[in-house]
């Protein structure tokens, strides 16, 4: 299975020696996604929603089918709940502005210490703009959201809880059910930042019981430059637009403008059409995969890696030790060694890993680390990648000593 899956990713197929362990930063693109982009650009390229000629109708149809595919991937109620954006960061900023503008001074938004900067800074900006209160769910020593602290953080002023579905540093998964239950008691909405979750399989936003879900195409085997925001229909309908321009208006006069219904209201300007079509091809492919098998396999590789890492003297694992509590994202520190140096030597052994703060400085601070080295595992990785990493770390630590 591994060899054949890997072969479906053009970059990996062409670089058999490469151990790509940085999918949390960007997953490799699936052949079908790239093919769909090329096919769209060479046979159906036209602007959407505005033309009546056949090419434009074909572009429109492909774009709206992409919306339906995204709705299926998330098990959304309706394709009208799918907004195409330029990426997870844009999706999160959209909510922080459009939903954020429905909040008033004194309302409370709850995020967590474990957030990626893209789900952290937009809320700080909202605090500065609107005078909301911003609450921070702390993390436990192993990087999990400390939901035991919820009772003191959440009250009737809490309008939104916006947290990551799983951490991009520790892989720690959020206990969504507990969070949603707490939110429902006070009438707060729940947003999940799914940027890291989507490469590990289709999601079910209705089963999760949430209100918003955000993710990026480039992290789930699709093209860059495109992302998704899903929001419950009635919430989207009540939100003012964020970006404005062509395609999202009802009527424009010098005095005032009126807005189109969602999703168009939130898609100002020409959207990333071919990219949405490419993303849909990736999502469609994912929906057709056998996820229990993939999860078992990703989990096994994750355990193998953690076992090996824990044997390295001076190495500190960040995040939960039990692989069931985390997505296959594994970060660690090695006493006295900087991740950039480690990654540099690993690169010489054809291992692609990332070192740094991973755009999660508050989390790093909470875990008592400045920077760390991260290995992230996706469905195209195999035991050879893990063994190469463990061997490579041995070389690196000897070389840098």
């Amino acid at each position: 299975m591994s060899a054949s899956l890997r072969d479906e990713f053009p970059l990996l197929a062409a670089a058999p020696q490469l151990h790509y362990l940085d999918s949390a930063a960007t997953a490799q693109i699936h052949r079908l996604a790239l093919d769909a982009v090329v096919r769209h650009e060479t046979t159906r390229r036209a602007n959407v929603s505005r033309g009546t000629y056949r090419l434009a109708e074909a572009a429109d149809l492909a774009y709206e089918q992409a919306r339906q595919t995204a709705a299926r991937f998330l098990n959304a109620n309706s394709a009208d709940e799918i907004i195409f954006t330029s990426g997870a960061t844009a999706s999160l900023n959209l909510v922080a502005h459009a939903f954020g503008n429905t909040l008033k001074a004194g309302d409370r938004v709850l995020i967590s210490v474990a957030e990626h900067h893209s789900n952290f800074v937009p809320w700080q900006m909202l605090r500065a703009r609107k005078g909301i209160e911003l609450g921070l769910i702390p993390v436990t020593a192993s990087g999990q959201l400390d939901l035991a602290r919820l009772p003191e953080l959440i009250d009737r002023k809490c309008r939104l809880i916006a947290v990551t579905h799983c951490s991009n540093v520790t892989g720690a998964r959020t206990d969504v059910a507990a969070l949603v239950a707490a939110a429902r008691k006070v009438g707060a909405k729940v947003l999940l930042d799914g940027a890291q979750a989507v490469q590990h399989g289709p999601q079910d936003v209705r089963a999760l019981g949430i209100d918003f879900y955000a993710f990026s195409g480039h992290k789930c085997f699709g093209p860059g430059g495109v992302g998704v925001l899903w929001g419950k229909g009635e919430l989207l309908a009540a939100m003012p637009p964020f970006l404005t321009g062509g395609g999202m208006i009802g009527e424009v006069t010098p005095q005032a403008s009126t807005w189109a219904a969602p999703p168009q209201r939130f898609e100002a300007g020409t959207p990333p059409i071919a990219q949405a079509v490419g993303l849909a091809a990736a999502l469609e492919w994912m929906v057709g995969q056998s996820w229990p098998q993939i999860h078992a396999r990703e989990g096994r590789l994750c355990e193998l890696l953690i076992e090996g890492l824990l044997r390295i003297p001076g190495l500190r694992l960040l995040g939960p030790e039990a692989s069931a509590a985390r997505a296959p994202i594994v970060s660690f520190e090695v006493a006295g060694q900087h991740p950039h140096d480690i990654c540099q030597v690993l690169d010489a052994h054809n291992l692609a890993l990332r070192g740094g703060h991973h755009c999660a400085q508050p989390l790093m601070a909470a875990l008592g680390a400045e920077v760390c080295t991260r290995a992230s595992i996706a469905l195209y990785n195999d035991e050879a990648d893990i063994q190469a990493l463990l061997d490579g770390l041995g070389f690196a630590l000897r070389e840098l000593a």
């Binding site: 900087h338 950039h340 140096d341 540099q344 690993l346 690169d347 010489a348 070192g355 703060h357 400045e370």
Partner: protein
Amino acid sequence: MNEGNSLYQDAIKQFAQAAHGHGQLAAAAGEAKLDNPLCGDRVGVQVAVASDHITAIAHETRGCLLCRAAASVMGLRAVGQDEAGIEAITAGLEGMLKNEAPVPAAWPELSMFEPARAYPSRHRCVLLPFRALLAALLESRRSRHGDI
């Protein structure tokens, strides 16, 4: 395949280990902190200056081996230089890394960074301490002359 070897020469590890100039000055004419937002590395530099020349330098450096080794060379060599001298060294080092220019003759130990030419993402690691020093010198000039 193992290009990493040549980058981490013993000289680099030794300079990083030695951490020449590490610490703080009792009284500084200028100081500056610079960081690399992408990796969180940070260099703080303090200088004492007399007649436009550096009379003492101290730095606190948090970073990778390349950054720490570069800071250490700076800590060893900067005293006696004026701002123009440090500018020339920094430009020389940048040219060496980015444009295959020769090693700045005045500071021959910078040759240990030659292998970093092949790794553009690491150039800023090497340059960060020098840029922090330039910022500290600018600050000292500002506070002396009340202008830029």
